[in-house]
């Protein structure tokens, strides 16, 4: 198992190298360079050329790529041109915790609702509940996130005033200056030990979590349902019934453990996708995650952010998948990675 993990980690290197190469050529193909943005609209051609020469954008893309790789290996991912002009790694580390917390909230919602609903639908197939679950999951998959987000904000934030309409915490009541990890759940609960603060952070996660979690919820629900239906027809479930086990025991020991195997894969895949940033949800809820960061960078042609942000997120995606494979092996004794 350890060998498997190490091998997968080593495989990360060629993946990232390849990806960065593709990115380098892709950026080269785009018309213009960041200099237009840096210098503004009225820059002269000579000024632009000078800027491009100074920043090295006039070199062949392969040379630019090699240069980039050499720096990246030393954990220098370049510096953003816009905003606070932070080093990309710092900007990423500042924003990524927000994305992680949002992903956690979304997946908690997706798993916490999707799995029980999928099981219930599978056990009462063709029932009203099953039909309702199917309809809800179809809506969940097809509803535009932006639209759903705005409706939730309007109903629960603006109209009912049950939940905050945006942001990560109440700026008027609390501040997070202490540890600076930007993991607000962690800081409020463990470092500040302030339950009110923690609940405020949780409250701010609810609407964005539901918004972002709806699509994963639909996937998790449908996979759970079909997996449970399949497992219920397995011979070993009949064996378990023939042993005289109670229905509850059969479900927890024999049905769920097997049915959850494909669900784990879906959960991992969806988590990986969400960790890549959620532009729409972040926009609706003014959530400073990596989604809007990368999106803005793309609009601004902020090369360093585009290139390095993509690589960092690709690494995260690979690591999440590795974690899924490892947990899968623990759940499924038939799989033994060597």
């Amino acid at each position: 198992m350890l060998k498997f993990i190490v091998r997968r980690l080593i495989m990360l290197a060629p993946i990232l190298l390849g990806l960065s190469l593709v990115m380098a050529f892709f950026l080269h193909l785009l018309p213009g360079t960041p200099c237009a943005n840096i210098l503004g609209e009225r820059a002269t051609a000579a000024q632009l050329q000078k800027c491009e020469h100074n920043l090295g954008y006039d070199r062949p893309p392969i040379v630019q790529w090699a240069d980039y790789v050499v720096n990246a290996v030393q954990l220098d991912f370049g510096t953003s041109f816009s905003g606070a002009r932070l080093p990309v790694l710092d900007a990423f580390l500042q924003r990524f915790p927000a994305t992680i917390e949002l992903t956690l909230a979304a997946m908690l919602f997706a798993v916490g609702v999707g799995i029980p609903l999928g099981i219930a639908a599978a056990k009462r197939r063709q029932s009203l509940l099953d039909g309702a679950a199917t309809v809800v999951s179809l809506i969940g998959i097809s509803i535009p996130i932006f639209f759903l987000g705005l409706i939730l904000v309007y109903v629960f934030g603006v109209w009912l005033h049950w939940l905050p309409a945006g942001g990560r915490f109440d700026l008027r009541e609390f501040d997070f200056k202490g540890a600076g990890t930007n993991f607000l759940l962690w800081e409020s609960l463990v470092i500040d030990r302030d339950p009110a603060k923690f609940l405020d952070v949780v409250g701010h996660l609810i609407l964005p979590g539901i918004t972002l979690g709806t699509i994963p919820l639909a996937f998790v629900m449908r996979i759970t349902r079909s997996a449970v239906i399949e497992v219920l027809n397995e011979d070993y479930v009949r064996t378990a019934r023939a042993k005289g086990l109670s229905a509850r025991r059969i479900d927890s020991r024999h049905v769920l453990r097997n049915a959850l195997l494909p669900v784990v894969t879906v959960i991992g895949l969806q988590s990986g996708l969400l960790l890549g940033g959620a532009v729409l949800t972040e926009t609706v809820y003014s959530w400073g995650g990596v989604g809007t960061w990368l999106f803005t960078a793309a609009v601004d042609k902020d090369y360093a952010v585009i290139q390095s942000g993509t690589l960092l997120l690709a690494s995260v995606f690979v690591l999440v998948n590795l974690a899924v494979d490892v947990s899968y092996a623990f759940l499924n004794p038939r799989i033994r990675y060597a």
Binding site: E234, D235, Y236, R238, T239, A240, R241, A242, K243, G244, L245, S246, R249, R253, H254, R257, N258, L331, N332, P333, R334
Partner: protein, 363 residues
Amino acid sequence: MTSVLASAQGGTRADDVVLDVRDLRTYFHVMDGTVRAVDGVDFQIRRSGRLALVGESGCGKSVTALTIMRLIDQPPGEIASGEVWFDGRDLLTLPADQMRAVRGGEIAMIFQEPMTSLNPVLTVGDQIGEAVKLHQHLRDREAFEAAVQALRDVGVPAPERRVKQYPHELSGGMRQRVMIAMALSCRPKLLIADEPTTALDVTIQRQILELIKEIQERTGTALLLITHDLGVVAETVDEVVVMYAGRIVETGTVEEVLLEPRHPYTRGLLSSIPSRGKRGQRLSVIKGVVPNPFRMPPGCKFEPRCPYAWETSVQGEPTCAQNEPELLSLGDGRASRCWLHDPRFTGRLRDYERPTAGAEEAR
């Protein structure tokens, strides 16, 4: 009909009988209509007795067993009538929690598919152990030891190691041994083995049959062996019940049924067993196929395939095609569901029993 069979099997005292199935009918309501998978089945098994339920695939053997265990999903299934007396209780009316105590504890079952009948994510020991924990109220440690012992009892080598393995680490024959160990771990009064060797290699088949027989003799559990293969019953059971299209068509002791089959269907089954004496000869297989459950023949269900069926023009005389015969008692516990055994047709019966072509095949 119940009375016919009761007298046919007369001579057994009630408390000698561990399982008494009466007029069992199990239907499945499916899209195309109703499948009468089991349609009036009666039989008894004596304490420590060994009985085989034999018939071609689809005749209702498994459904009979699952109905006894009350493992039929309802819907689509329906247990339309019948009683299953087991140790003085009718299992079909037993409260669900008491029925659970019977399942696995007093009646254990082995299934056809050892490859898929064990849970792939639990160790063999866990799967045996959960049965003994439940029925014998053992603790984890004792259950583990009971599982090791159960594996040892069924001849699994290195049981201490095997008990910690997962099903995919075992061969088919080994898994079937595990199933048997699991079934016997709670000392059931009745063991139902549904085609326990069908999915196995021929050499392994022999071993598993030997094992079942040896364990049956050692523990004194009663055995209901289900098989489509008359070839395996000879050394394994005492009595045989032959089923066709959800009904019993013949009963008798194993010697009687194998050596002197009364029903044309049994005769057909016997002539399709390969044997040393017949090597090189073409095996005769019963022509035709089992009837479509939605278009059952109105008379004898075997009539369309029966080489001995006849037509009659005599007024008031039953015909094979139009009238279904009862299960007729032939004395000595034998019975056959065939018009040949109706007193009106003794002449035809004499022709049937004369050692002609048909009978030769049976030898």
